[in-house]
Symmetry: C2
Subunit: 416 residues, 2 copies
Amino acid sequence: MKCIKTPMKGMNDYLPSDMRLREYVQGQIKQTYGSYGFSQIETPCVEHIENLTSKQGGENEKLIFKILKRGEKLASAEDQTDLCDSGLRYDLTLPLSRYYANNMAQLPSPFKALQIGSVWRADRPQKGRFRQFTQCDIDILGDATNLAEIELMGATTSMLVKLGFTGFTVRVNDRHILKAMAQACGFAEADYDKVFIILDKMDKIGLEGVEKELAAEGFAAESVAKYVKWFEKAGLGLSAREFCGEELGEALDPAVLDGLDEILSCVKAGATGEFNLVFDPTLVRGMGYYTGTIFEVELPGFSGSIAGGGRYDEMVGKFCGQKVCACGFSIGFERIITILKDQGYQVPDDTRKVAFLAEKGLSAEKKVAMFREAAALRAEGVQVMVTTRAKNAKNQKETLRGEGYSEFKEFFRRED
Amino acid sequence: MKCIKTPMKGMNDYLPSDMRLREYVQGQIKQTYGSYGFSQIETPCVEHIENLTSKQGGENEKLIFKILKRGEKLASAEDQTDLCDSGLRYDLTLPLSRYYANNMAQLPSPFKALQIGSVWRADRPQKGRFRQFTQCDIDILGDATNLAEIELMGATTSMLVKLGFTGFTVRVNDRHILKAMAQACGFAEADYDKVFIILDKMDKIGLEGVEKELAAEGFAAESVAKYVKWFEKAGLGLSAREFCGEELGEALDPAVLDGLDEILSCVKAGATGEFNLVFDPTLVRGMGYYTGTIFEVELPGFSGSIAGGGRYDEMVGKFCGQKVCACGFSIGFERIITILKDQGYQVPDDTRKVAFLAEKGLSAEKKVAMFREAAALRAEGVQVMVTTRAKNAKNQKETLRGEGYSEFKEFFRRED
């Protein structure tokens, strides 16, 4: 018999200390989002292959772990399509859309959902990137108003504050503004995505780099010049209205600017800690399914975001055949865990912890008394570990201290 | 685009009300086992196919969801063995053995582990039996003494009491007694398993049925007669010592009887509620890997068990190449949820819940004030749902009342 000790490549065994942190953070997430009225839901980890490959997952569709159809004979299977009828989900957004379509009659409207669950991607494993990892999403379905954006941002910033994060930055933009600016500068609609992909590199290559790449793509010099000049005003702390000025004209519904202003004011009004909340015209977010507001949270000193999301009003409808407005925020759970772990974050815990160490061969009478004592302490809320006293009790106590036990009581066969 | 609304066959979408119950029960489990010093751990849902098919899972190995190897070309794959390098775990015990072997240097000894996680079995779906379901296991590794059994039973009964269960019965037996009895009656060692499988049917076919089936198997009439006569004493409430009497002689190490006595006395000493704890010589438990004590919990009025476990001292060693004593208790999480749901169990919840209903088109000023008010309430621990006021507000409030909101505040564009 050959048994393999290590877990599958890119997937993790979590030690008790890992779990304490993960459980604590999940608890804070559940509690905070709960206080904002989000309801927890759960979908199966296994999803129909038809849904997983319906072109809504972008690059993630290339990373699916496919599951063999049960009872399928290989001889009759011409290719993988015949062999596999399901796969492991690569995110929580696609299952949410299916879930909502399947259960909408039983759900309130608007519906505020919280999901915490594992997802799988057959990515090349590297530091902080796993093949099985936890995602944490909040979504509001069926609300076309910006209350959705405000609640999502309010809950997420409040959760980050609870975890001790401070000084982070929430960047907000709107796909409508991105598009109106591209239009006002004379880019063709078919080229918008190309333009945005280049704009998205601003933080890496700077405005000069963006200009160079836009020119290299062969866009009209006049358009590029106007676009780049406009973005010189980015980062000056202007509001969306100040940044856009009068130049967008009819390319942009003025309600978009009012809406952004409102979102920022209301999130600030509900803020539970210190953080920055800014309009950032350079924010793009890759996923093509966003239709309106987009947002991202960054921590000073860390590249990349720790949370991000936006409005996606067209996706859920693909399942239920009717338009369902949707807005969601995805928290980078694994990233937050990595950062807290690197910071040496201590999970708050004021439980009194006592270890009972019982020498081997203790009489039945003494054991009974010991367990009675343990029960009495547990009834008072004390965590009591009853365990066999190791021969090297000093070592054992050291280990137990590492687990938070600060009191020890030893039970010996004979009293000394 | 064809999207499928329903979840995969035998797998569940959980509604908010389902999740409230599931989360509550999981919380009680984590809290109770935590107070007994069990540490939560987690293993990946995906496991090496070699481990899943190593003949430790019995019938479950026929029910594995196999995962296609990434990048494998079908042309080169002669059969499923080449195509699949992994599968979804069918239980938590096999991954625990692998986990312990992989991480033992970093784990305390004895190690008290709590696992809650999904497992998958391609069973025929039926009421209360799913293809993805939650298992909940506690195990103590590295403790050869009966402190392990006592802690497992103490924690599990205490958890059941917390969930409001009362009058349940914990049945305890020991594989050593089963074997010694079979030996004392003259059955051949090679036939023990056959004998136990028949004995295991006692609750369904009665002692007469057992006698008939043993005879039909062609066992010596004298052995069958002695065996059956012995079991006439089962159910009389005898202790293991009284039941076994002097007849087992050298077939049984007397320490086994002392051990059982101790277990029962100590669990009773630590009990936090009313339940029955009995020695039951007819308890067999199917899994061949048990090596000593076995136990099961039954609820009056429900067939089948709601938890079960035992000592399995030989299994973990298959991974780490050295003997590791182990004892575990598996809680029938889905069964408990089904019973609580059928009973109309109400999750205790004293959170004050207020819904803010905002009419569409509320001014920015009023919105800001509303979110400030919501933040103030949330800071006091109130759950506040801010949502758009539906045209049919009466209906909306009814739905919200169903979710536990008892107070409503409406925000209108203009004051009346």
